[in-house]
Symmetry: C2
Subunit: 240 residues, 2 copies
């Protein structure tokens, strides 16, 4: 059975303008690989409702799980929750349980829960909250879409609470073999190996270290025995 | 007149598996902002022909310029050039000028120009070469699509040679104002500011430094006077 699939939507003008470098995609990629979910696509789009709705509706059809990051804070450019509601065709409003979380948090800190902060309790109808252990304002799950914060520490915390709820497949294992030959010399044996092991993913990543050039060959698959076999065959070739 | 737009396609299983963290998107974002081209979308997809063809045909319709990174080396998983030819419905084969570049480069280094390396001279019909000052194997431009290497040093060098050929708009300027108040206190004045200055993009990015929390407000626009005005108005509000 093939592994379940995931896609990500990074919402943020600050990434596209070059002001901020996204960190959440790389974090998500590592975690999904660990639990055996195939990450098939990531998109970075700007803070525009139409762009979010269109991309979300495409990705949630295509992947088993979708993760969004960004745009769920209190300011005017935080439009993700409303866009998600629009994509699903459901209503959105301040929800009591989310408001309660914010009330408690801000009261303890003597900070006013004003209209702007209250925006963070706006949750589309039918969604389930995702806990935010960093700053309380919750994310949410609706259908197969997981809506999470853009701030990396919060994104990571939300993902940690969501991951155990997902059904993964066989975790992908990988072996990296460093070969100090030009990628052009590695290409032919790799191509043969790929034909003999269609169940493995075989990638080659060139490097150049202090004048030594070569390629890191990465074998990926779910069956450790097949990986070991393929690795042995590759090493044999290059030692011959 | 609105600025021209750009989109990016990052081709690479190694990014989606979490093995490698993409660096080219952030580099491209900064460069596009400098020359006044609006970066509207980036996608990361896997090394599959159908995925590349579909995404490329969507993005080249939507943006004035498209940039791809990855998948133009000599190994079996380097399928970008063939996928681009398929997307444009043109033929692809080894081209004499590209082969000549590789012959000279490898001859000087006493390295065999084998069939695998020769793959890097496969160029779709009608394309123009992009110089690769790092390792010679060229990128290419076809239509509005710029096909470049995934290795960051090569991607950056190729982009540097391509940028002067693009028509930019008014460069986006930005001002960052650090406000040591919770984002929830900044939200209302920012929303007012956004209404008064619809020509500016106004973003708010929360931070927490050694227990001081606040927001970096970023104003972006092409008219320095409008930016200065908006900045003054914001500062006035928070000093009052």
């Amino acid at each position: 059975m093939p592994n379940p699939t995931a896609a990500m939507l990074v919402i943020g003008d600050e990434i596209l303008s070059g002001r901020t470098r996204d960190a959440n995609m790389h974090h998500l990629a590592g975690k999904l690989t660990e639990v055996g979910i195939d990450f098939i696509e990531a998109r970075v789009i700007s803070d525009r409702t139409e762009a979010i709705v269109a991309a979300l509706n495409e990705l949630r059809e295509r992947a088993d799980y979708v993760f969004t990051s960004g745009g769920i804070g209190p300011t005017h450019d935080d439009i993700t929750a409303d866009a998600v509601a629009e994509a699903f065709g459901v209503r959105i409003g301040v929800r009591d349980d989310a408001r309660q979380l914010l009330e408690t948090y801000y009261a303890e800190r003597n900070i006013e829960l004003n209209q702007s902060r209250l925006r963070m309790a706006r949750i589309p109808d039918g969604a389930t909250l995702i806990e935010n252990p960093v700053s309380v304002a919750p994310g949410f799950v609706i259908g197969n879409v997981h809506v999470m914060a853009g701030v990396p520490s919060i994104f990571e915390a939300m993902l940690a609470s969501v991951l155990p709820t997902l059904t993964g497949g066989a975790p992908l294992q990988s072996r990296t073999i460093r070969i100090e030959r030009g990628e052009g010399d590695v290409a032919r044996p790799l191509s043969n190996l790929a034909e003999a092991y269609p169940d493995l993913m075989i990638g080659s990543y060139p490097f150049m270290d202090n004048g030594i050039y070569g390629a890191n060959v990465v074998l990926r698959g779910t069956d450790p025995e097949r990986l070991q076999e393929a690795e042995a065959r590759l090493l044999e070739y290059f030692e011959a």
